[in-house]
């Protein structure tokens, strides 16, 4: 209910939803990399699968030779041969 109010308010005030609702933002750079903003931490890390926690769900990046090239408390850049990016809540 609170989330719905927040969303409506953000739309009325024309604020970016990802900022106002604290949602993750994912940018896919072809098959070379994925930028995940506003993440909640690493859940699983192996060369062919990286699972990252986001808000109420998780993002799974599958591929080959996956590496986390940069990471801080908010952003994470995954590089390698990306095959799929899946979000589950």
């Amino acid at each position: 209910m609170l989330r719905k109010i927040k969303q409506d308010l953000a739309e009325i005030l024309e604020l970016p939803l990802d900022v106002s609702l604290d949602l993750p933002k994912i940018v896919i750079i072809g098959e070379l990399g994925v930028l995940i903003q506003n993440h909640r931490g690493l859940i699983q890390y192996s060369p062919d699968r990286i699972v990252v926690g986001v808000g109420e769900g998780q993002i799974t990046v599958a591929g080959e030779s996956l590496k986390i090239s940069e990471v801080n408390q908010e952003d994470m850049i995954v590089r390698g041969r990306i095959k799929t990016v899946q979000m589950s809540t």
Binding site: G41, Y45, P47, I68, E70
Partner: protein, 391 residues
């Protein structure tokens, strides 16, 4: 190297392998604690990352919380180099000794090069330089280039200039030798070519010809005074002379015509180096080339980087009939070039005429005649003056 990398190197950094049930938890704890961590990789069992040495020292607290085992796999940076050096004091001493030795050796002259000498031998120059202190092994600070230059000029009067300088451990002696004007032997002034004399200027001797007189090559123009009161003739005798040249040219020639076939190559050009990165090499026997630049960086400098398309157009030779006027023009041009090569630079053109001849079917000839004014006087030494000078 960026500033961050340089800072990490100065502080020291390590490659950490984290193994255990949940290595990702340790990564998250590191991120929350604000640890500088980078360069993550995994092999399925463990997670690897880099962190700075000061932060690694506090990582064990987090490792206990996440129930993981962190291990250092590799060490990088200044603190590790220093610890290795501290363990080997002799190594540090040797390095300091080698460095001091290098500095000392660089202050000496180890080779000497002589440039510009032709008649004065290198050995003589080196001997003089050695007497002034310039020998292999001599300290540069103890040498005075000005004193060596003065000694060289004093010892070798054939030298007009000497310059001593150092290029690292190489001493370079540059010299310039004196050049004397050629000595003219006394004799008569004679004609070098046939011609009609237009003016005579006598500096010494007796004029034998007058303006308007026709002379042949070898005739005496100004006579000197042989015998006891020997005075060689000197002067200028200007005469009207003729130069003639004959050229033939065909009334048929061949012109290159493009067939329509072409090959393209993409080329990267940097300074004088070209690399073909796409397209085809030229395969035509006869062709014309045109370059079409597409992109250029640092234009006008010697490090210009250009991407260009080079097009090779195939050509074939097609016979073409030349008009008589064109053929005459070509032959005239060739004849002029040939005659200009024969003419001395000091001549003055008086008249130019040409004659056209049809040699045979399809061939035309041009005879070009130039009348010029030039100094035809040349000194012919007397036989006895040659003998006197050992000639």
């Amino acid at each position: 190297m960026s500033l961050t990398k340089a800072t990490h190197w100065l502080k020291g950094y390590v490659l950490v392998e984290v193994s255990g049930k949940n290595p990702e938890r340790l990564v998250n704890l590191c991120l929350i604690s604000g640890f500088p961590v980078w360069g993550f990789s995994a092999d399925g069992r463990s997670v690897f990352f880099y962190t700075t040495l000061p932060k690694y020292r506090t990582i064990h607290k987090l490792a206990r919380k996440s129930r993981c085992i962190p291990r250092i796999r590799r060490r990088f940076g200044f603190p590790f180099i220093m610890s290795r050096v501290k363990r080997r004091p002799l190594f540090l001493l040797m390095a300091a000794f080698m460095f001091a030795g290098l500095i000392y050796m660089a202050g000496a002259t180890w080779a000497i090069q002589v440039k510009g000498n032709e008649t004065v031998s290198e050995t003589d120059i080196l001997r003089t330089a050695a007497a002034a202190g310039l020998i292999p092994g001599a300290r540069k600070s103890a040498l005075s280039p000005a004193a060596i230059e003065a000694a060289l000029l004093k010892e070798h009067p054939e030298l007009t200039w000497a310059y001593v300088h150092f290029q690292g451990t190489l001493a370079v002696i540059e010299v310039v030798e004196k050049t004397r004007p050629p000595t003219e032997l006394p004799g008569d002034v004679v004609a070098a070519r046939d011609g009609v004399v237009t003016s005579v200027l006598v500096l010494s001797g007796t004029p034998v010809v007058t303006p308007g007189q026709t002379v042949k090559a070898g005739d005496v123009l100004i006579a000197g005074q042989p015998g006891d009161a020997r005075t060689g003739a000197r002067g200028t005798v200007v005469a009207l002379t003729c130069y003639e040249v004959y050229r033939e040219t065909d009334l048929y020639d061949q012109v290159a015509v493009r067939t329509g076939r072409k090959a393209e190559a993409k080329i990267l050009r940097y300074a004088a180096t070209e690399i073909m990165f796409a397209g085809k090499h030229n395969e035509f026997e006869w062709y014309e080339v045109e370059d079409y630049p597409e992109f250029s960086l640092f234009k006008g400098t010697d490090k210009e980087l250009t991407v260009l398309t080079r097009v090779f157009y195939e050509t074939e030779w097609v016979p073409r009939k030349v008009t008589q006027e064109e053929a005459i023009e070509v032959a005239k041009q060739e004849a002029m070039e040939a005659i200009e090569r024969k003419l001395p630079s000091s001549v003055k053109l008086v008249d130019l005429s040409y004659e056209t001849l049809i040699v045979q079917e399809g061939v035309i000839g041009i005879r070009l005649v130039l009348s010029v004014e030039e100094d035809i006087g040349r000194i012919r030494p007397w036989p006895e003056s040659k003998d006197l000078n050992g000639g």
